[in-house]
């Protein structure tokens, strides 16, 4: 009985992995169509710069989000200072701002023509004032760090929270101070969480096109879109994208191999204890640090968006916004639930099949996040259209008459597409959380007469709650912001807030795009932030 259930688990996990790997396979199939001419041109004039830029960008953003994300997570979970409770949930708000929106607003504020430099010039009277160039490697790294640190922040918080303050107390009793306790005990124990968050940041950075385009910073994705849109070669674009995938795969595998084989579970996860009360000077520093990050990453850009949205409000706001909102929330909620469920099945399959095969399947299934969205959208669309065409042929054979497209433009296909794109986003926090569940807990539960499902339900799920919660939130927000898949697969007339943003920005009407962007943030994140705050209190 237990054996067949395990087989069922393995079969379900394999089915999920195969399904979501189809688009990735389509991307790889591009190698069947050679594009030597374009490769030769790129090799001679384009790739050198791109690879250098991509390397520095990825390194800079990973280091930046590591520093910012982990330090904020530590401060808001382990330390006590004024404002901590508000910062704890507010610091995740930047998640709701699409990366390209933050990039555009930052440029708008700090460019030569922006209000900051204009004010400085008129105040000082100088025509040419030195100001750090925003359109630079440093500028784009800063913006992406501010946009992406919440991935590391949210996931790492789960690590620190479940370690419990007790662990630091134990470390102190062994002679560690706060600082060495942090570096020698807390940080190593949080490694799977931090790595999971950083992997998401890395994939997002490598697949980003919107923000780097606004900064005119040429990365690997620039070449991908240049091949497709400008040189009309989708095969060359997909070949480049598949190389990006291999790089990500290599990095993620390297981290997994290098990770020390140790245990990350704790005896009593989340055991209550007292937070470290910071001295006045440290508390002031913590407060201003959190406030500065929050201001730069959220308050300032959001203020600008609100101003713009207010300008266009009377003209653009109409009853259809209720529909946009409804569609957006429906998709995001359903996709978040489905993706988290799929990720949970994969994580359990690996837990119960320690062999390498299941692990490899999981790795491949979570690669969709590293492909630039528009390329993956085509990878999804091609098999869907193929299936539709087969069904139509069948209908023609059966009824001798034409049927319309069957599955394309259905919500179910959209949801499957989101799962395939965002599985990694749900998988990483859940996988990390599973590290806290010690294997001997299963034995203990069985000893108490609990069946397998009852063990999962009554023992594991409460321990995984933080990870699951994070997974659901991250996917929810990602789907709200997602554009290429939504654009390609939505039913006719079934527009979302992200679609509105696309229509405005595609014609360069950024101010008008502020209205749907603001709606996106308000509708999506405020309820979540409130939820998070409640979860934090308990």
């Amino acid at each position: 009985m237990a054996g067949s259930r395990l087989d069922g688990l393995r079969a379900a996990a394999t089915a999920i992995a195969l399904l979501v790997a189809i688009p990735v396979a389509v991307v790889f199939s591009s190698w069947l169509a050679p594009a030597t001419d374009i490769w030769r041109h790129f090799a001679a004039y384009v790739l050198g710069d791109l690879l250098r830029n991509t390397f520095w960008l990825a390194l800079g953003v990973c280091l930046g989000t590591l520093l910012v994300g982990v330090s904020l997570a530590w401060l808001t979970t382990m330390c006590e200072f004024p404002g901590r409770r508000v910062f704890a949930w507010a610091l995740m708000l930047p998640l709701a701002l699409p990366t390209y929106v933050l990039a555009f607003v930052s440029r708008g504020l700090f460019d030569y023509t922006g209000p900051v430099q204009t004010a400085l010039r008129s105040w000082s009277g100088a025509a040419d004032l030195w100001f750090p160039r925003i359109q630079s490697t440093g500028g784009v790294i800063t913006v992406l760090t501010l946009a992406l640190y919440p991935y590391v922040y949210l996931i790492t918080r789960n690590a620190f929270r479940t370690q419990g303050v007790r662990m630091m107390e134990v470390a102190q009793s062994l002679g560690h101070g706060h600082v060495s306790g942090f570096f020698r005990v807390a940080l190593p124990m949080a490694r799977p969480w931090i790595a999971g968050g950083l992997a998401l940041v890395l994939m997002e950075t490598l697949a980003d096109f919107g923000a780097v385009a606004i900064f005119n910073y040429d990365t690997f994705t620039t070449a991908i879109y240049k091949a497709w849109y400008s040189l009309f070669s989708l095969p060359a674009a997909a070949q480049l994208a598949s190389m990006l995938l291999l790089i990500v795969l290599a990095l993620v595998l390297t981290e997994a191999v290098l990770r020390p084989r140790r245990r990350y579970h704790t005896a009593r996860p989340g055991a209550p204890g007292r937070r470290i009360v910071l001295s006045r000077r440290l508390a002031a520093f913590a407060f201003f640090y959190c406030a500065a990050i929050l201001a730069l990453a959220f308050v300032l850009p959001m203020g600008q968006l609100l101003l713009w949205a207010y300008e266009v409000l009377p003209h653009d706001l109409d009853g259809r916004y209720l529909d946009f909102l409804g569609h957006t929330l429906t998709l995001a909620l359903a996709a978040a639930a489905l993706t988290a469920a799929a990720a949970l099945i994969l994580v359990y399959a690996v837990r119960h099949n320690s062999g390498g095969a299941m692990r490899a399947v999981t790795r491949i299934a979570t690669l969709g996040y590293a492909v630039p969205g528009a390329v993956l959208a085509v990878g999804i669309f091609i098999p869907v259209a193929w299936l539709d065409n087969q069904l139509i042929l069948m209908a023609r054979g059966l009824f001798a008459r034409d049927a319309g497209l069957l599955i394309q433009g259905t919500i179910l296909i959209m949801l499957l597409a989101y799962v395939s794109r965002f599985l990694a986003v749900a998988h990483n926090p859940i996988e990390a959380a599973m590290h806290r569940v010690a294997p001997h807990i299963d034995e203990a539960a069985r000893g108490l007469g609990l069946g397998r499902l009852a063990t999962v339900w009554r023992v594991h799920l409460p321990m995984l709650r933080g990870g699951l919660f994070t997974a659901v939130i991250l996917v929810f927000v990602e789907v709200m912001k997602e554009m290429p898949i939504t654009l390609m697969l939505r039913p006719f007339g079934w527009d979302t807030l992200a679609v509105r943003i696309f229509e405005m920005t595609s014609e360069g009407e950024w101010r008008r795009a502020a209205l749907p962007a603001v709606a996106l943030v308000l509708a999506g994140l405020i309820p979540i932030a409130l939820l998070l705050r409640r979860a934090d209190k308990t």
Binding site: T113, Y229, L231, A385, R401, D402, M488, E503
Partner: protein, 334 residues
């Protein structure tokens, strides 16, 4: 189990087959032109004729892939883009069909529609020079080529070469001067840049107005939007190349898909879009120029003055786009 699946499929397909047999006349459009720029025009058409129009917007590249993957079963009757290059590419991939229409031929100048009658321009997008009125006299300006001259050293702003508008402009220069001369000009532009290239035209015009640079090359409707909001902006348009071939223009245009279900209805819509009334609706909503030479532009657009447009066929934008992109890469135009 297999029986159940069969029965389910039978029910679903028969329902859909039945559903598709009902309903009045309807046209399905795939559009790379944003909803806010097409819906008002479609609404007017529906009001006038009772024909319902359903549409989906997306990027050109995605729409082309969509048409390709759907093949003979595509629901789309019409494809709308905001440049000639992608229409040219759609034709090359066999996604469009030729249309024999005397109305379209009469309303749309020959250089703005396909020689094989597979696609047609609906509005003209002019790309010309913008200058700072406090630092430049219009008499100092002449042509795109001239912006590579020594007097503009450190005074020129350009938008990124990744935008199709610049790719079309350079493609036209290749067609006119040959690749070697075009590359020399682009290199000279790059040498004259005042600052890094810009991600969009709006930012570029603002930079010209703020004095970060003195001249730039932009599409006229971006200027129109800014000047509408701030008439005191110290920036004006200069119609380039009036002493020789004329201003570089591109089109926003459309074609009827090869596998359209309602080809006659789609052709009728296309013809209607080329008539004076629709032309003003289509162009004015984005301050573009009507493609039909008998239709005057919006008054605030007409205020920028008359100009001679380059009569070179816009299909060159598609044909030479890849060459132009590679040329700009070689010349270091980012």
């Amino acid at each position: 189990m297999i029986r159940a699946v069969h029965i389910l499929l039978l029910t679903v397909t028969s329902l859909l087959a039945a559903a598709s047999a009902f309903g009045g006349e309807e046209i399905v459009v795939y559009s790379a032109r944003g909803e806010q720029l097409i819906k008002p025009i479609f609404d007017a058409y529906t009001k006038e004729t009772g024909v319902k129009i359903t549409f989906a917007t997306d990027k050109e590249g995605a729409l082309l892939q969509r048409l390709k993957a759907e093949g003979a079963n595509t629901p789309a009757d019409m494809l709308i883009t905001v440049d000639a290059g992608n229409l040219w590419q759609a034709e090359r991939e066999g996604l469009l069909r030729p249309i024999a229409s005397a109305t379209l031929r009469a309303n749309i100048p020959a250089h703005l529609r396909d020689r094989e009658n597979q696609w047609f321009g609906l509005s003209v997008r002019a790309r010309t020079i913008v200058y700072n009125t406090q630092r430049v006299r219009p008499g100092e300006l002449n042509s795109y080529e001239d912006l590579g001259g020594p007097k503009w050293k450190g005074r020129l702003c350009l938008r990124t070469s990744k935008k199709v508008y610049n790719q079309s402009l350079v493609a036209m220069m290749i067609a006119e001067h040959g690749a070697a001369e075009a590359e020399r000009i682009v290199r000279a532009w790059v040498g004259n840049l005042a600052t890094d290239v810009f991600p969009d035209d709006t930012k570029l015009i603002e930079a010209v107005a703020a004095g970060q640079c003195d001249v730039g090359i932009v599409n006229s409707y971006y200027y129109g939007r800014l000047i509408e909001k701030n008439p005191a902006l110290p920036a004006r348009l200069f119609w380039a190349n009036q002493k020789n071939k004329g201003v570089h223009v591109n089109i926003s245009g459309a074609g009827v898909t090869r596998y359209a279900r309602h080809p006659e209805a789609a052709v009728k819509l296309l013809e209607w879009l080329s008539t004076p009334k629709a032309q003003n609706l289509f162009a004015d909503v984005n301050l573009e120029f009507p493609v039909n030479p008998r239709v005057p532009p919006h008054p605030s657009v007409a205020a920028w003055g008359d100009f001679k447009q380059n009569l070179i066929h816009v299909e060159m934008a598609g044909e030479l786009q890849a060459d132009a992109v590679k040329l700009m890469d070689r010349a270091g135009y980012k």
